[in-house]
């Protein structure tokens, strides 16, 4: 069935995956395809950015008609910063791994967030280095065991907590086995203006999928605790706003910059993602008690994005005509006089 811009879901595919059969990352690629199709994303405006790792390979496997940049390990954030600054009309989807973001890339990750570079930052978090065959990453849980490398005794870095503390205005965690939630959160993230972090626990079936491992399928399936049930109502959705609110009493509605809404049905935890303190608490609790919490953790009114704080012109810098790139000969002559 064609979407609003006349494309089939298949048009949003990429080349066939070369990941291990069953890898969590592949299901995320599929969710991205679905989301892009549902949202009728114009692929020519999308850029896909990634670092190095199994996760970072995935941009090849979705949205084949979009430009993509598979950069170097851990330093995709700076490439994304440059690309979105060069052309502020691009829709950037960044994909990274836990090693890529949490180990080698932590500094760039934090600084990207601080600058509020507008993009969806998907972390395909499996708590292990997949591509280099099963070393611990910085998000490996304390006490986690791996076949070859033994026991991890260091505390995990929680990339969502890092994002909240670092000034991200949209921070969510999900589970690649929960496709509905992944899709809803990705849609909301796409609608967000600013850095939107979506940390998706995505099991590595080859190196970190023991049943007791906190980031395995079995564990996720058994222990995932969603914070809410979600619905995403895109901007311009026909149903009048009031009706939606009426849906269920306990709902929280988060209105987004572009007019869309995320509707959250509160579950027993009572988490309100607009409450920064709750967001931090819930993350700290999850880490302390090793809870597999998922959902929209934190949402804040967007603050200025980088191209705004840079005060650059509205048209993409990349497309400026020569006349705007080179002042006149007269301008040079005048300038020269000031140095005489």
């Amino acid at each position: 069935m064609a979407n609003a811009i006349g494309l089939e879901r298949a048009d949003y595919k990429g080349s066939p995956s070369t990941l291990c059969p069953g890898c969590g990352h592949d299901s995320i690629s599929n969710q991205i395809i679905s989301v892009a199709y549902d949202m009728s994303l114009p692929m020519h405006r999308v850029i896909k950015l990634s670092g190095i790792g199994c996760s970072s390979k995935t941009p090849a496997y979705f949205l084949g008609r979009s430009h993509a940049f598979n950069a170097v390990h851990g330093r995709m954030p700076s490439v994304a910063t440059g690309a979105t600054t060069a052309n502020n009309q691009l829709i950037a989807i960044a994909v990274s791994g836990d090693g890529d973001t949490g180990s080698i890339g932590l500094g760039q990750y934090k600084h990207l967030i601080r600058r509020n570079v507008p993009l969806v930052y998907v972390i395909e978090n499996n708590g292990v280095y997949g591509l280099t065959k099963g070393q611990f990453s910085a998000t490996s849980d304390e006490g986690q065991k791996l076949k070859y490398y033994g026991l991890n005794e260091l505390p995990a870095i929680d990339l969502c907590l890092e994002a909240v503390v670092g000034g991200a205005t949209f921070v969510a965690r999900s589970f690649s086995g929960d496709s509905k939630q992944v899709q809803t959160l990705l849609k909301a993230a796409m609608a967000h203006r600013g850095t939107a972090v979506v940390d998706i626990i995505s099991p590595c079936v080859t190196f970190n999928n023991a049943d007791e491992a906190n980031k395995s399928y079995a564990y996720g399936k058994a222990n995932e605790k969603p914070l809410h049930e979600y619905e995403f109502i895109p901007a311009g959705y026909v149903q009048p706003r009031e009706e939606i609110v009426a849906d269920y009493e306990d709902a929280i509605e988060v209105q987004m910059h572009d007019g869309s809404f995320i509707k959250l049905k509160k579950l027993d935890n009572g988490h309100d993602p607009r409450n920064r303190r709750q967001a931090i608490d819930v993350l700290e609790q999850a880490q302390r008690e090793q809870l597999f919490l998922t959902g929209l953790l934190y949402y804040e009114e967007p603050r200025p994005i980088l191209t705004e704080t840079l005060r650059i012109v509205d048209e993409p810098l990349a497309l400026l005509p020569d006349a705007k790139l080179r002042p006149s000969e007269e301008a040079l002559t005048n300038l020269m006089k000031s140095f005489m």
Partner: protein, 612 residues
């Protein structure tokens, strides 16, 4: 052949020396002497005397010794000189050594307040009542320390013949025509001038006399010139991280980007992002260059080292961007406020695994401007990172120059396809493959993101790929791709700025000199002085890597070739050697690496040695 060369201090003896001597001011860093020195330089410039300034400053914000040399040269020489006839010794901690270095017949200007006595009998002393003069001028307390330096300005003006009118103008220039501070300073200058006139009988031979050699010229630093060149080259994304001596290049972009500002909205067409480090800075360039911006950064050695990995990506994924390396002295942190050319070879082969880069080598502020825009053109034409290696001497010192020429060709965006040209391309070729060598020059056609064409997209990566930009581990694809990129390097060889050759006569001289960058003034001076003594030399100034064929041609046609450069290893000589299988046993490396700008005297001494 044994040559009698001029002894070092010969010029320090005659009875009347006009516009051909150097005045050095020794003070403490952060004491405000920069302003005074600039006023002196600007005054000489206004008098039409060819002038140049060298700032020898410490890696420190306040308090460590700093020396500033102002050279007047009626013959137009603007390189560093090894000695200074006149020394203003205003730093008590270094004065003893500073005085000991004054050549016989020279002059020492020293605060009278110190009551140091006059230990040398072969130089002229002038003692200045610094404190008194400032006190008498009734300057507000907070400005007193800084303004004390104006005392030597006034005294020098009287002693060496700079009119008060000229100084006043120069002060206004220095203070951007702001009357108030200029006049406050001028008050002290005038007072010192008058005191000197009344109390200091002239006892030395040095005088400045008006000439007409600076009319229509400008005074500018290389970094400002580079900033202007970049702005006229259409730079649109600058990502950087502060580091001496490159910081003032980006400051220059900030200072002058208003000339590119959108007049209607007041918004910028140049984004300047202060990155968290150099790894991020070049990452941003690569993202920006890939997305179609004209991207530039400016850094120095340590930043270059940090950029190595990303540079390899840009090289291999074929992303345009420009990196200015305003070199200081390494290895490591080294001497951050001294000059040298020690990054050349490292830049050339930056990053692992068979990479090789285009490096432009400006030799003057004019070329800093030219290469400012040319580098951006070349980066897009060649789809590769382009380095420009300037140095602290060129970048941070003030130089005299002809006004810069407007770019002689329109902005070159290389083979960048728009929606329409992509359409046309596909019509013509029935296909478009990102990395296919359609024109046999090694350069493919690229698209940038955002183009509304279903076939515009391609996948950019640092891993092996075939000409369709598809991932490939096939040996044949790898080899074909690398061969093409190497072929591109041959294309580069022909379109980068070509060497400038200056021959002594119609027949090749026996000695050929090869050099590059900021050594130029010293070489120009050395050649003239050598010629005056009967040693003719030809001179080829390299302006870019990869080396032009004419470099080897030059080497072939000279009996002896000297490669003169300011680093320890003789890196240019090594590059010349490593890429040629010719017999180069007549090529000799003269390399310095003493952390200071090169002098003509050093070159002359070496050549005389060689000849001796």
């Amino acid at each position: 052949m044994v040559l009698e060369m001029q002894p070092r201090s010969e010029t320090a003896n005659p009875s009347h020396v006009v516009n051909d001597f150097t005045l050095m001011v020794a003070t403490k860093n952060g004491s405000g002497s920069q302003t005074s020195n600039e006023v002196l330089i600007r005054s000489l410039f206004r008098m039409g005397i060819p002038v140049s300034g060298k700032n020898l400053f410490p890696s420190n914000i306040k308090g460590l010794p700093t020396w500033y040399s102002i050279r007047a040269s009626k013959d137009g020489y603007i390189g560093r000189k090894e000695y200074n006839e006149i020394a203003v010794t205003f730093n008590e901690l270094t004065a003893a050594e500073d005085i000991s270095k004054i050549p016989a017949g020279g002059v020492c200007i020293i605060p009278a307040d110190w009551k140091w006595g006059q230990s040398r009998h072969d130089i002229t002393y002038y003692e200045l009542p610094v404190k008194e003069t400032v006190t008498a001028a009734a300057v507000p307390q907070e400005f007193r320390d800084r303004i004390a330096n104006m005392v030597y300005v006034g005294a020098c003006a009287y002693l060496f013949g700079i009119s008060m009118d000229v100084v006043r103008q120069a002060l206004l220039d220095t203070f951007n025509q702001k009357e108030k501070p200029a006049m406050m300073n001028f008050g002290v200058v005038e007072r010192a001038f008058n005191w000197a006139q009344a109390n200091l009988p002239k006892r030395d031979p040095y005088v400045f006399e008006p000439m007409n050699e600076t009319a229509g010229k400008i005074l500018i630093t290389g970094n400002e010139a580079a900033a202007l060149g970049s702005l006229f080259g259409g730079v649109s994304v600058v990502a950087w991280y502060p580091i001496t001596p490159s910081t003032s290049l980006v400051d220059g972009v900030l200072d002058y980007r208003h000339i590119r500002r959108d007049p209607d909205t007041g918004k910028e067409t140049v984004a300047v992002v202060q990155a968290e480090d150099e790894l991020a800075a070049i990452g941003m360039l690569i993202g920006a260059g890939w997305a179609g911006a004209r991207a530039m950064t400016s850094t120095s050695g340590p930043g270059i080292s940090l950029m190595a990995e990303f540079t390899g990506l840009a090289y291999f994924a074929e992303i345009p961007c420009v990196v200015w390396d305003v070199t200081r002295v390494g290895p490591s942190t080294g001497l951050p406020t001294r000059t040298g050319q020690g990054d050349l070879l490292f830049l050339y082969v930056l990053s692992h695994g068979d990479t090789r880069h285009v490096v432009l080598l400006p030799g003057s502020v004019g070329e800093c401007f030219d290469m400012g825009w040319q580098s951006l053109d070349l980066a897009e034409q060649l789809q590769t990172p382009v380095f420009v290696m300037s140095d602290l001497d060129l970048g941070m010192n003030i130089w005299m120059s002809d006004p810069f020429a407007y770019p002689d060709k329109p902005i070159q965006r290389g083979k960048t396809l728009s929606k329409e040209t992509l359409e046309g391309f596909i019509e013509q070729y029935g296909e478009w493959y990102r990395y296919k060598d359609y024109d046999q020059d090694g350069v493919g056609y690229r698209t940038i993101p955002g183009i509304d064409h279903p076939k515009a997209a391609y996948f950019t990566r640092g891993t092996g790929h075939n000409e369709k930009a598809i991932y490939s581990e096939r040996s044949e694809d790898w080899v074909a791709n690398l061969k093409r990129i190497h072929h591109k390097f041959e294309t580069a060889r022909a379109i980068v700025p070509q060497p400038v050759i200056s021959n002594a006569g119609d027949q090749p001289a026996r000695i050929g000199i090869i050099s590059y960058g900021s050594n130029d003034p010293a070489i120009v001076e050395a050649r003239e002085l050598l010629a005056a003594r009967g040693i003719q030399t030809d001179y080829l100034r390299v302006r870019a890597l990869p080396l032009a064929a004419s470099v080897y041609e030059f080497i072939r046609t000279h009996e002896q070739v000297l490669v003169i450069e300011n680093n320890f290893d003789g890196q240019m000589a090594q590059i010349i050697r490593m890429e040629s299988s010719e017999n180069l046993s007549h090529l000799k490396s003269l390399s310095l690496g003493d952390s200071l700008p090169m002098t003509a005297q050093w070159i002359i001494d070496r050549i005389v040695q060689t000849e001796g």
